[in-house]
């Protein structure tokens, strides 16, 4: 089978989970003997490497941007111009003998539709997040929604990264369930390191969607009872507000803001943390939870995160219930048997979340349409 896949980023150039996903998926699909031409924007320097069955093809020139909704200040013509140009170039340049075209999220949907029509081949669309997730429940932007809806309507099959996302696609976008398949994400295990004493970690973009405010409010509750360090890792438009909040809550000396981290730093911070919290307001999957547990760090996950469907050895909370979040953080810090069991069992469990498995399921979806 030969397919065209349209992406937005690919390691070493990545800003979000989409790059990690495309990397893991394409490698594993190539191992299953699927021939892939992977299309992506051209960056100013270097080029990601392909492999047997996998060709990386750069299209045009663009700057790197966050793969999903950009920060408010970046919501300008530049960004949309780049997306538009990239989609137009893909539509023009993708030619040849493919059995299907596979694209990811709104960034590449228009190109996907154009290629489908031009070459007369089926379109598979993976939905990693929707506008309803990214806006965190506040002012969803109709412009994105329309692109997403058109993409979903034109897709022959939609791959949702969780049942949670599948429900959104059905309920908010009115797409028939029969067209949607759920394929959960995988993780490349990080491996265990030496734990420091009592470090509680948030890691993710600092946006409303990811719920960092709830993390800080829970931190305040925890610090009434326990002495520990809270780490907020990542960057985003909420950063100034969060720093202010930490000062206002009088916990600034116990909260560390790291700013953006390198891959190595991310690994390290997962490894030394005693608890990982994923307080997302709306999270299609939440691959970071799998990364954390693969580093032996027990995880507290928002109920509105797709990963909570599949990771049994974790604690779940409502993202807004900061008292319960704090209760669980304290329990993990205090009760060693709980910490040990969650750490060990989750680490075992996460070994089943392989990219091979994700690729096999993706291939099943391909076979349904070709």
């Amino acid at each position: 089978m030969k397919i065209a896949m349209i992406g937005w980023e690919y390691p070493p150039f990545k800003v979000g989970g989409l790059g990690t996903h495309c990397y893991g998926l394409t490698k594993a699909l190539a191992d299953l003997d699927v021939k892939i031409d992977f299309f992506m924007p051209k960056f100013s320097s270097g080029k990601p490497e392909g492999s047997k069955n996998l060709n990386i093809k750069e299209v045009g020139i663009t700057k790197v941007f966050p793969y999903d909704r950009p920060y408010e200040e970046a919501l300008d013509d530049d960004f949309f111009e780049s997306v538009y140009t990239y989609n137009r170039l893909c539509a023009e340049k993708i030619n040849g003998c493919y059995e299907l075209v596979h694209c990811h999220d709104w960034l590449t949907m228009q190109a996907g539709i154009a290629v489908k029509k031009k070459l007369g081949i089926p379109l598979v669309l993976t939905v990693h997040s929707t506008e309803y997730d990214r806006c965190g429940g506040i002012y969803p932007n109709e412009w994105f929604i329309n692109i997403e809806k058109t993409g979903m309507e034109n897709a022959d099959r939609i791959i949702a990264v969780s049942n949670f996302t599948k429900r959104i696609i059905v309920e908010k976008y009115g797409i028939p369930e029969e067209k949607i398949r759920v394929v959960h994400n995988a993780v490349s295990p990080i491996g265990e390191g030496k734990k420091r004493k009592k470090v509680v970690l948030f890691l993710g973009r600092l946006t409303i969607q990811k719920g960092p405010e709830f993390f800080l409010r829970a931190a305040k509750r925890v610090l009434d009872k326990e002495d520990c360090l809270f780490v907020v890792a990542g960057s985003g438009d909420l950063l100034p507000r969060l720093v202010n909040l930490a000062v206002k809550l009088d916990i600034a000396d116990k909260v560390m803001f790291t700013g953006p981290l390198t891959d190595e730093e991310v690994k390290h911070i997962y490894q030394i943390s005693s608890v990982y919290v994923l307080p997302s307001v709306s999270e299609p999957f939440g691959i970071t939870a799998l990364e954390a547990v693969s580093a032996g760090t027990p995880t507290i996950i928002s109920k509105t995160a797709g990963v909570s469907e599949v990771l049994k050895n974790s604690l779940v909370v409502d993202f807004w219930d900061v008292d319960e979040m704090a209760n669980k953080i304290v329990a993990l810090l205090r009760y060693k048997p709980l910490h040990k069991m969650l750490s060990e069992n989750a680490k075992k469990e996460v070994t089943f979340f392989t990219w091979d498995r994700t690729a096999e399921k993706t291939l099943e979806v391909y076979n349904e349409v070709v």
């Binding site: 604690l315 704090a326 209760n327 709980l338």
Partner: protein
């Protein structure tokens, strides 16, 4: 042909409230905050209407109809009786009516359906057994002669203690771990004991009803009274012990499965068609003699497929809570505070540890079915928070 011994366990735990780490040491009335009375009352009433009341009525009718030839035995836990007092005295009344027929035997156990038999010191165990015995005496005017430990937990040490307490018989699981090639349909005696007799549950026949009755994948589905009675009649031995949760009738197996019809027709098949006799556990112990010894150095039970105590003490969280219970107990006993002793004992009910089992994550849905928690980890946090609160209370007394 063997006699038939039917025995039902009747139990409800005091399920716990959500208790946050922030409530520890807050000194709110603990009887109100440790236990979720609203949920407990709801569950009890539901099960009473689905199971206890209709099944008691059915058994009463059947005993009358067969003129005393149908006999059954019950173990009724202390916590269950407290529920009856608090919410539905008519349930207790209906059990009393059954006992009055003279065809019903009552079985002794720990009042709180606890794991006190697994403490290194058996004083608490003894106290709970006596408490239960006194309660049964005052409620039913009845003195049990046969003992069944919580979920049939049994080992040589427990058997010895039970004999010391004056019982004639003890009930446990007829597992191959202990029996090897031998049949559960005979009585045995514990190794190096005097006169105590052991009744062994025939788990195959018992689970045919308790677990498999409504399982459509089972090759013997549907199970009719006729078929089941013929299996029992075809068994070798002195007595076939069919022991299960009473809630099998109408609760684990819903009325739509035909479980009540099954029960209605079973005595007729046994007594009239096959000419077998029903016996109570007390009668079985009086009538039959042991055919051999059983040696059980490590505790067995009738729980899960392992038939050991791993259901309650199978993971680190469970062991931590159990040790905490022991520790609190040591402190409670030093103070003369009946209300703290009562709380400690209510928290000993084995169900609280059962909910923390992580076995269900891999295989069974059984644990999940019975658990008020979404997850054993949640259960642990909640239970441990409560234990910490009680510990602080006891220490500050």
């Amino acid at each position: 042909m063997p006699a038939v011994c039917l025995y039902f366990e009747v139990h409800q735990p005091f399920r716990l409230n959500r208790f946050s780490v922030f409530s520890i040491g807050e000194r709110i009335n603990p009887a109100g905050t440790y236990f979720n009375h609203e949920l407990n009352e709801k569950v009890f009433e539901k099960v009473a209407r689905k199971c206890y009341l209709p099944t008691n009525q059915l058994l009463l009718d059947l005993i009358e109809r067969f003129n005393g030839r149908l006999k059954v035995s019950f173990s009724i836990t202390g916590t269950f009786m407290e529920y009856c007092d608090a919410h539905m005295p008519e349930v207790m009344e209906s059990f009393r009516d059954l006992v009055k027929t003279g065809c019903v035997d009552l079985i002794s156990e720990t009042y709180y359906h606890s794991l006190a038999s697994l403490f290194d010191d058996l004083t608490e165990f003894e106290e709970q057994v006596k408490l239960h015995r006194d309660t049964i005496m005052s409620r039913f005017g009845f003195t049990p002669t046969v003992f069944r430990n919580t979920e049939a937990i049994y080992d040589n040490r427990i058997a010895k203690k039970v004999e010391e307490l004056g019982f004639k018989g003890i009930i446990t699981e007829g597992t191959e771990k202990v029996l090897q090639w031998r049949s559960p349909n005979y009585l045995y005696k514990p190794v190096s004991s005097g006169n105590l007799k052991v009744l062994l549950r025939n788990y195959k026949l018992s689970d045919d009803v308790a677990f498999r009755f409504s399982s459509v994948e089972w090759s013997e589905f549907p199970l009719t009274a006729d078929k089941f009675a013929s299996w029992v009649a075809g068994s070798e031995g002195d007595v076939v012990n069919i022991f299960m949760d009473y809630e099998t009738f109408g609760e684990h197996q819903w009325p739509e499965t035909g479980i009540f019809e099954f029960l209605r027709h079973f005595p007729q098949e046994v007594v009239e068609k096959h000419g077998l006799e029903f016996v109570t556990v007390g009668e079985a112990v009086n009538r039959f003699n042991p055919v051999g010894e059983i040696d059980v150095p490590f505790a067995i039970s009738w729980a899960d497929t392992e038939r050991d105590v791993s259901t309650w003490l199978g993971n680190d969280m469970q062991v931590a809570c159990f040790n905490e219970l022991k520790e609190i107990g040591r402190m409670v006993k030093e103070k003369d505070k009946p209300e703290l002793l009562k709380l400690w004992r209510l928290l000993q009910t084995s169900d609280h540890l059962y909910y923390l089992s992580t076995k269900g994550l891999a295989d069974g849905t059984v644990h999940k079915y019975f658990s008020p928690y979404e997850h054993p980890y949640e259960g642990f946090i909640n239970y441990m928070n409560i234990l910490q609160d009680l510990k602080q209370r006891v220490m500050s007394e």
